[in-house]
C-alpha cells in the first residue's frame, strides 16, 4: 500500500486516541455525550477507510452501524435519558481531571510499549492500529472507573468497545467482524435500555450501605 492510504488510516486511528483523551477531560454529561458522538464518528470513518483499502466490503456494514447506531442513535437516546433522570446539569469531579489525563498518557505509553515488540510478522498498518486500539481500550476502561455516573460509565464502555471495533477492522480479512459488531451493538443497546428501565439513578453504585445490608441478608461487621 502506498503512503497516503497508510497516513490517513494512521491519522484516523490516532485521532480516536486523542478523542478518548478528550473524553477523559469532560466533566459535563452533555459534553461527554457529544464528544463520544465524535468518537464514534471517527470510528466510522476509520472503519470505512479500512474497508476501502482492504477491499473488504462487509466492513462498510460495520462502519454504517458505527455511524448510525453509535454516532447518532445512542447519543440521542442518552440525551433523553439524562434529561428524564434529571441529571443533565451535574458536574462530575472525581479526583480532578489532571490526574486522569496523566494516567491516560501513561496508559497510551503502556499500550505502545506492549505493542512495539509484537507483530514483527503483522504488517505496519495492523501494528499501528493495534497499538492505538489498545490505547483506546485502556482509556475507555479508565473513563469507566473514574466516573460515578452510570451514564458516563456506559459511555466509557462504549468508547472501549469502539477501540475493539477499530482493532477488528484493522485485522486484515478478519471474519465475523460484522457479526461481532452487531452483537456488541445489541449488548450496548441493552445496557442503555437497562439504565432506562431499571431507573439506575445517578451515583447508583454508592447507595447507602446499611440499606443494602438490610436486603442482602449480610452483616458487615
Amino acid at each position: 500500500m502506498h503512503g497516503l492510504e497508510f497516513d490517513i488510516a494512521h491519522f484516523l486511528a490516532g485521532s480516536m486516541v486523542v478523542i478518548s483523551l478528550l473524553l477523559l477531560y469532560q466533566d459535563r454529561l452533555y459534553a461527554l455525550i457529544n464528544v463520544f458522538a465524535g468518537h464514534s464518528l471517527t470510528l466510522a470513518l476509520a472503519v470505512g477507510w479500512q474497508a476501502y483499502i482492504q477491499e473488504a466490503h462487509h466492513l462498510y456494514v460495520t462502519a454504517g452501524i458505527a455511524l448510525v447506531f453509535k454516532a447518532i442513535f445512542i447519543p440521542v437516546a442518552l440525551h433523553r435519558i439524562i434529561r428524564k433522570l434529571g441529571i443533565h446539569r451535574t458536574l462530575e469531579v472525581v479526583g480532578g481531571v489532571g490526574r486522569d489525563m496523566l494516567a491516560g498518557a501513561a496508559l497510551v505509553a503502556l499500550a505502545i510499549l506492549v505493542m512495539l515488540p509484537v507483530t514483527a510478522g503483522a504488517d505496519a498498518l495492523a501494528r499501528e492500529d493495534l497499538a492505538f486500539a489498545l490505547a483506546v481500550v485502556l482509556l475507555g476502561l479508565l473513563l469507566m472507573i473514574s466516573r460515578h455516573n452510570a451514564v458516563s460509565l456506559v459511555i466509557g464502555f462504549m468508547s472501549l468497545e469502539n477501540g475493539l471495533v477499530l482493532a477488528a477492522a484493522g485485522a486484515r480479512g478478519m471474519p465475523l467482524a460484522v457479526e461481532i459488531s452487531v452483537a456488541f451493538s445489541v449488548l450496548i443497546a441493552l445496557i442503555v435500555i437497562g439504565i432506562f428501565l431499571f431507573r439506575i439513578r445517578e451515583r447508583f453504585d454508592s447507595v447507602d450501605m446499611q440499606a443494602m445490608d438490610a436486603f442482602r441478608g449480610e452483616r458487615r461487621r
Binding site: M144, I145, M212, E218
Partner: protein
C-alpha cells in the same frame, strides 16, 4: 483365603448401615443391627487371629476401583492382622454392650446407620494397601465417627466438639495426603509396594516423618494436637466413645507405624527417635495431668487416652532410636512394648468407657461431683470398672503393668545408644513415664473412689440400678482379658513376634512361652524377669491363707455402726471429699505450673448463712498459646476481607483494570 472374606465382611457392615437408615426408627432395629455387627466382628476376629497365630504369608488383592489406572489395593500382613484383632475385638465387645445399652438411645436414627459404617471404615483403613484407598477409608472413618459424635447435636457443646473434631481430622488427612504425595513422587506411584521400592533422600524422608507425626498424631491425640479428643470422645454415645478412644486412636497409631516403620523403612537419622520420644513423654504427663483436673468422668477417660498414646509413642520413639543405630534386639523390645500397650489400652479403655456408659444409663450423670456410692446399687459394674482402673494404673498382676514394665526395660537399654542427646533424653522420659504412671494411679483412685465409693451425692445416684446382662457380659469379657494378658504376657509377646519381625528387619524377641513358669524374660543376657502368674498365685495364696486363718482362729464377728470419723459423725454426704478436693493437693503441686491454676475461697463471716465457695480457675496452655491465636487471626482476616463484599461497581472495575494493567506491565517488562 481370609482377605476377600474380610473385605466382604466390611461390605456387609456397610450394608447393615444402609439397612439401618431405612429402619432406624423401629424399636427392634437397634437389637438387629448390633447383633449383626457383633456376629460380623466376631467372625473377622477369628479370621485374623488364625492369620496372625499361624503366621501365614501376606495376602494381597486388587479391585478395579478408586483411581482408574491404580485400582484399589488391599493387603493383609502381620501388622494389619494385629490391628484388625484390636479393632474387631473392640467392635465385637462394643456391639455386645450396645445390645443392652442401645435400648436407652434417644436418637437411634443418628447412631445405628453410622455405627457399622464406622467399624467398616476402621477395617478398611487397616486393609488398604495404596495411598488413595488408605486415605479414603481413613477419612471415611473420621466422617462416620463425626456423625456419631453429632448424634446428640442439641447440646451446643457437642456441636462444637464435632466441629473441632472434623476440622482436626481434615487437617490430619491433608498432612497425610502431603506425606503420601511426597512418597509417591510426581508420577503418582501411590500403591504401597511402589512406595516401599522407591528410594528417598534423608531430607524428604524427614519431611514425611514430620507430616506423618502431624497427621497420625492429630488423630491419635498427640500433644499439642489433642485438643479435639477430650471434647469429641465423650460427646458420642458411650459404646462409640469406647470405640473411638480404645480403637480408633490405635488405627491412627497404625497409620504412623505403617508409614514410618514400613513404608519409609530404615530410619535415616537418630533424631527421629528423639523427636518421637520427647513428644511421647510430654504427651503422657500432660495427658494425665489434664485428666486429674477433670470432673466429667468421660472426659477424664478421654484425657487418659492422650496419656496412653504418649506411652505408646515412647515405645515407638525408642524403637526408632534403636533402629537408627542398628540395635535391632533392643528395637524389638521397644516395639513389643509399644504394640503390647496398644492392645492393653484398647482393652481397659474400652472397659472403662463401657462402665461409664453403664453409670450413665443408671444415673444419667457424667459429673463425678453428683455421683458416689454406686458400688452398693451396681456392685458388678463397680467390680469391672475397678479392674479396668487397676489395669490402666499399671498395677500388677494386670496387663497395664506388663507393657509399662517392658517400656521401662527398653529405656534401660538406651545407654548403649551413641548419641548424647538421646542419652540425656531417655532417662528424663523414663522419669516422665514413671510420673505419669503414678499420677494415673492417683487419678483412678479419684475416678473410682468418687464415683463408686462413699455416699451418693445426688438423688440420681441414690436411685441407680444395676445395668443389664449384655453390658455386664461385655465388660467382664474385657476385664477377663485384662487379667489374662496380665498373667500370661509371654503368650501375647510371642504372638506379637511376627509383627515385630515385620517392622524390625526380621529381628524379634526370644520366644517366651518356653520359659519356666511362663516367666517373661525379654532380654536374655540381663536377667530381668517378671512373672505375673506367680505374683497372682502368691497374692491369692497369702491373702486367702490370712483370711482363712483369721476367720478360723481369731474372731469373725462384725457389726454395723455409724461411721466414726474421729468422733465427728456427719449426716450430710456433702461433707465427703469431692473430685475437686481430692485433686487439690496435686493441683497445687503440678497444676499451678502447668495450668496456672488459681483458687479463690470466699468464706462468709460467722453468722452469715451463705455457703462458702471455692472457685478454681484453670487455663489450658496449649489452647491459649496454640489455637486461640490462629482462630483470632482467621477471624480478623475474614473481617478485613469482608469489606470486599461491599465495594462499589467502580471499585470492582478498578480491580479488573488494575489486574489488566499489572499483567500488561509484566508483559512489557518480562521481555
Amino acid at each position: 483365603m481370609p482377605l476377600p472374606l474380610l473385605l466382604s465382611l466390611s461390605m456387609a457392615l456397610l450394608t447393615v448401615g444402609i439397612y439401618a437408615i431405612a429402619t432406624a426408627r423401629h424399636a427392634s432395629c437397634s437389637r438387629r443391627v448390633y447383633s449383626v455387627a457383633l456376629a460380623i466382628s466376631g467372625v473377622a476376629l477369628i479370621l485374623v487371629l488364625t492369620h496372625l497365630l499361624t503366621a501365614s504369608a501376606p495376602a494381597t488383592l486388587t479391585l478395579p476401583l478408586s483411581l482408574p489406572w491404580l485400582g484399589a489395593h488391599f493387603r493383609l500382613d502381620a501388622l494389619s492382622a494385629f490391628f484388625l484383632i484390636v479393632v474387631n475385638l473392640g467392635g465385637a465387645v462394643a456391639s455386645l454392650f450396645a445390645l443392652g445399652y442401645g435400648q436407652h438411645e434417644r436418637a437411634p436414627e443418628r447412631v445405628l446407620p453410622f455405627f457399622p459404617a464406622f467399624l467398616a471404615g476402621m477395617n478398611l483403613v487397616l486393609l488398604a494397601d495404596d495411598a488413595f484407598t488408605f486415605l479414603f477409608a481413613w477419612e471415611f472413618m473420621s466422617l462416620t465417627s463425626w456423625a456419631l459424635v453429632m448424634a446428640h447435636h442439641q447440646e451446643s457443646a457437642n456441636a462444637r466438639a464435632g466441629y473441632l473434631y472434623l476440622v482436626m481430622a481434615c487437617f490430619g488427612t491433608l498432612t497425610l495426603l502431603l506425606a503420601f504425595g511426597m512418597m509417591a513422587g510426581p508420577n503418582g506411584g501411590y500403591d504401597f509396594a511402589a512406595i516401599r521400592a522407591g528410594e528417598m533422600t534423608p531430607g524428604l524422608a524427614a519431611v514425611v516423618l514430620i507430616l506423618a507425626l502431624l497427621g497420625a498424631g492429630s488423630k491419635a491425640g498427640l500433644v499439642p494436637l489433642h485438643v479435639w479428643l477430650p471434647l469429641a470422645h465423650p460427646a458420642a454415645p458411650s459404646h462409640v466413645s469406647a470405640l473411638m478412644s480404645g480403637v480408633m486412636t490405635k488405627v491412627a497409631v497404625y497409620g504412623f507405624i505403617r508409614i514410618v516403620f514400613d513404608l519409609l523403612g530404615e530410619p535415616m537419622a537418630w533424631w527421629w527417635g528423639g523427636l518421637v520420644l520427647a513428644l511421647g513423654g510430654i504427651t503422657a504427663v500432660l495427658g494425665v495431668l489434664y485428666a486429674l483436673m477433670q470432673h466429667d468422668l468421660k472426659r477424664l477417660l478421654a484425657y487418659h487416652t492422650v496419656e496412653n498414646i504418649g506411652i505408646i509413642f515412647i515405645g515407638l520413639g525408642l524403637a526408632l532410636a534403636f533402629q537408627a543405630n542398628h540395635m535391632y534386639a533392643s528395637a524389638a523390645l521397644a516395639l513389643t512394648a509399644a504394640l503390647f500397650h496398644i492392645l492393653n489400652h484398647s482393652l481397659f479403655k474400652s472397659l472403662l468407657f463401657l462402665g461409664t456408659g453403664a453409670v450413665l444409663t443408671a444415673t444419667g450423670e457424667r459429673d463425678m461431683e453428683r455421683l458416689g456410692g454406686l458400688i452398693h446399687p451396681m456392685p458388678w459394674t463397680a467390680l469391672a470398672f475397678l479392674m479396668g482402673a487397676a489395669a490402666i494404673s499399671a498395677l500388677p498382676p494386670l496387663n497395664g503393668f506388663v507393657s509399662e514394665w517392658l517400656t521401662f526395660q527398653a529405656i534401660l537399654l538406651t545407654p548403649e545408644l551413641p548419641q548424647w542427646l538421646l542419652k540425656f533424653l531417655a532417662p528424663a522420659v523414663g522419669a516422665l513415664l514413671a510420673l505419669s504412671a503414678a499420677l494415673a494411679a492417683a487419678c483412678f483412685v479419684k475416678a473410682f473412689g468418687i464415683t463408686f465409693l462413699g455416699r451418693p451425692r445426688s438423688p440420681a445416684a441414690t436411685q441407680a440400678q444395676e445395668t443389664d446382662r449384655y453390658s455386664l457380659v461385655a465388660m467382664f469379657t474385657l476385664a477377663a482379658l485384662c487379667l489374662l494378658a496380665g498373667i500370661l504376657p509371654g503368650l501375647v509377646v510371642d504372638s506379637l513376634a511376627p509383627v515385630v519381625g515385620l517392622l524390625n528387619g526380621g529381628a524379634q524377641l526370644a520366644t517366651q512361652h518356653t520359659q519356666p513358669w511362663l516367666t517373661l524374660a525379654p532380654i536374655v543376657d540381663a536377667k530381668s524377669a517378671y512373672n505375673g502368674l506367680l505374683v497372682l498365685l502368691f497374692m491369692a495364696l497369702s491373702g486367702t491363707a490370712a483370711a482363712l486363718l483369721i476367720h478360723r482362729f481369731a474372731s469373725s464377728a462384725s457389726r454395723r455402726g455409724p461411721a466414726w470419723d474421729c468422733g465427728f459423725p456427719d449426716a450430710s454426704p456433702a461433707t465427703q471429699y469431692t473430685a475437686g478436693s481430692f485433686a487439690q493437693p496435686i493441683r497445687r503441686v503440678f497444676g499451678s505450673i502447668v495450668f496456672q491454676a488459681r483458687e479463690r475461697v470466699t468464706m462468709p463471716p460467722p453468722g452469715d448463712g451463705r455457703p462458702a465457695r471455692l472457685e478454681v480457675q484453670l487455663r489450658d496452655p496449649v489452647w491459649d498459646y496454640g489455637y486461640a491465636p490462629i482462630t483470632m487471626a482467621v477471624i480478623a482476616a475474614s473481617t478485613r476481607a469482608n469489606h470486599l463484599q461491599y465495594l462499589t461497581i467502580r471499585r470492582y472495575l478498578s480491580l479488573v483494570f488494575g489486574a489488566l494493567v499489572v499483567l500488561l506491565l509484566g508483559m512489557a517488562l518480562w521481555r
